[in-house]
Amino acid sequence: MKELKLMKGNEAFAEGTIRAGADAYFGYPITPQSEVLEYLMTVRPYETTGMVVLQAESEIAAINMVYGGACCGKRVLTSSSSPGISLKQEGISYLAGAELPCVILNVVRGGPGLGTIQPSQSDYFQSVKGGGHGDYKCIVLAPSSVQEMYDFPKLGFELAFKYRNPVLILSDGIIGQMMEKVYLDESTPRWTEEEIIKNNSDWATTGKTSDRERNIITSLILEAAIQEKHVIKLYEKYKVIEDNEIRYEKFQCDDAEYLFVAYGSSARVCQKSVQLLREKGIKAGLLRPITLSPYPKKAIKDLSKQVKSIVVVEMSMGQMVEDVMLSVECKIPVNHFGRTGGVIPSPNEVADFMMKKIKGE
């Protein structure tokens, strides 16, 4: 029996981590995601499931704590918002280089710099194109509801351990701060020490026993030829992820002649815009990528054979639009509608923009 609750996105995420069987959360306060740490410290899972919750001295310390916990084969995670995520990038690069599983939540706010605490989607490039130094990719999931904020820690851990890769959950201030209905499912128990050893002792630092060689976690490979091999191996893994893990959702696409592509809260805005346009007789539809990395290129390409043009809606000056353009290979017009700096596009202005483009303005 699923439990029904009214929760904020950040709270749902925090509850989701406990119920996903997380072993540890390491955080640092920053608006608009501080409710994650506040919720965990209020609920005190360390007294029930044994999950560690620790407020670190900085985002840098927090991501390195995640690195330490991940080295041990445990389910660990952190959360922050844009400026804090920038600080974590070195650590994320290390995690990717050392092939460590973990979950990182970014409740995006407007930038650059200290920017604004209002919602934004301007960290798309940072999330899907690397972010830290070196050749690597994170798996990036984009929740567009409070329910997905609850569901994605569990999905994130599954993917992170399946591929031994960091999973980034790219949310924003709207999804983090809003309240919606959430259905809470049964808790996944934390792994026992025996399960950790059984599942992960072929790579994790669980303590060298006489029946195995020592495990070393490092991202240091001094020889260029071996480093190249390592990176090629990472990219072969990313290819497998691309073949198996692309997720997206279509909304009113069956008969669509005009398509919105949007993720996260922009996709919610676009759903309303689709309704407004359909009330005026315009057959609009929406494709919402759920995985931003790997990106649903084929789904967009396929739809580009059906629709006349695409409008990409983002709370940024245009980042994901580049991936949409690459997907459609210049076959049909791709336009971008963006509000940035913490301004949220309204469903009406998005619909009006689509109308203008349809009329060829």
């Binding site: 840098i60 630092t205 020592r214 991202s219």
Partner: protein, 260 residues
């Protein structure tokens, strides 16, 4: 008795006075000949071997000369980002509270880029051991000024000597962390003479055994030479260390638990 022993004689069991601990691998150490790191690596591994805790120990070495420590130490090892070993160790210990966890860090790592992680891990009283090698210089990157470089001491980024007016003063981070309520045992040792080695080993053992007590962080500074970075022979560097480093960084316990 012959005047000189042949190799054949030396390897006879009755002539054996010392053997390499099995917790050191057969990989040749990459430290410069004459450097104290090799001895310090060995002491940590000997202690873990003697305590019989190989399967329960996780070591963390971040960036610096010790970055390749995982090649030498035959235990599960983590290589951490520059300065972040205390944060990594915090998590390892918190998710594995019954394991023994130590960091092995140099002065640039622990007292410059990682000052925040060092102080906060100490202040939280994490039940870990920090082994801190202080040789007053960045060795790995080729002899640049470190936070612990002595006044007027030359390094590649202070080629005319450290001018404290411009470059600040040596940071006595060990005295600093001893002030924090979270540290349980803080000591400063050296590994340049057999007597010093014996004392240092005792200190390391105590620092690791303390983890069982769960009373806070144990911190062992080892003042060491960097003969390459200081551009001296190993012998000269040890002499210089005694004359110049020890007055600034005096040997001995700084914080000793009242009840043991």
């Amino acid at each position: 008795m012959q005047d000189t022993l042949t190799t054949k004689d030396i390897i006879k069991p009755e002539n054996l006075v010392y053997s390499k601990t099995k917790l050191l691998t057969d990989t040749p150490l990459s430290y410069c000949p004459g450097c104290g790191h090799g001895t310090a690596n060995r002491l940590v591994m000997e202690v873990i071997d003697e305590m019989g805790i190989q399967s329960q120990t996780i070591g963390i070495a971040p960036v610096g000369c010790s970055v390749l420590a995982y090649n030498f130490m035959n235990i599960d090892m983590i290589q951490a980002a520059h300065g972040r070993a205390p944060a990594v160790a915090t998590a390892v210990k918190r998710v594995f509270p019954d394991k023994y966890v130590f960091t092995y860090q140099g002065d640039g790592d622990l007292a410059a880029i990682g000052t925040s992680e060092t102080i906060h891990a100490c202040n939280r009283g994490e039940n870990i051991t920090i082994v801190f090698i202080n040789n007053g210089i960045y060795g790995m990157t080729g002899g640049q000024m470190a936070p612990t470089t002595l006044p007027n001491m030359k390094a590649s980024t202070c080629p005319y000597g450290r001018d404290v007016e411009i470059m600040g003063h040596p940071l006595k981070i060990t005295e600093l962390v001893a002030q924090l309520p979270g540290t349980y045992y803080v000591t400063r040792q050296a590994v340049h003479t057999p007597a010093a080695v014996r004392k240092a080993k005792k200190a390391i053992r105590k620092a690791i055994e303390n983890q069982k007590l769960k009373k806070g962080l144990s911190f062992v500074e080892i003042v060491s030479n960097c003969n390459s970075g200081w551009k001296m022979t190993p012998n000269d560097s040890n002499k210089w260390m005694e004359e110049n480093m020890f007055p600034e960084y005096p040997m001995g316990d700084i914080k000793v638990p009242s009840e043991i």
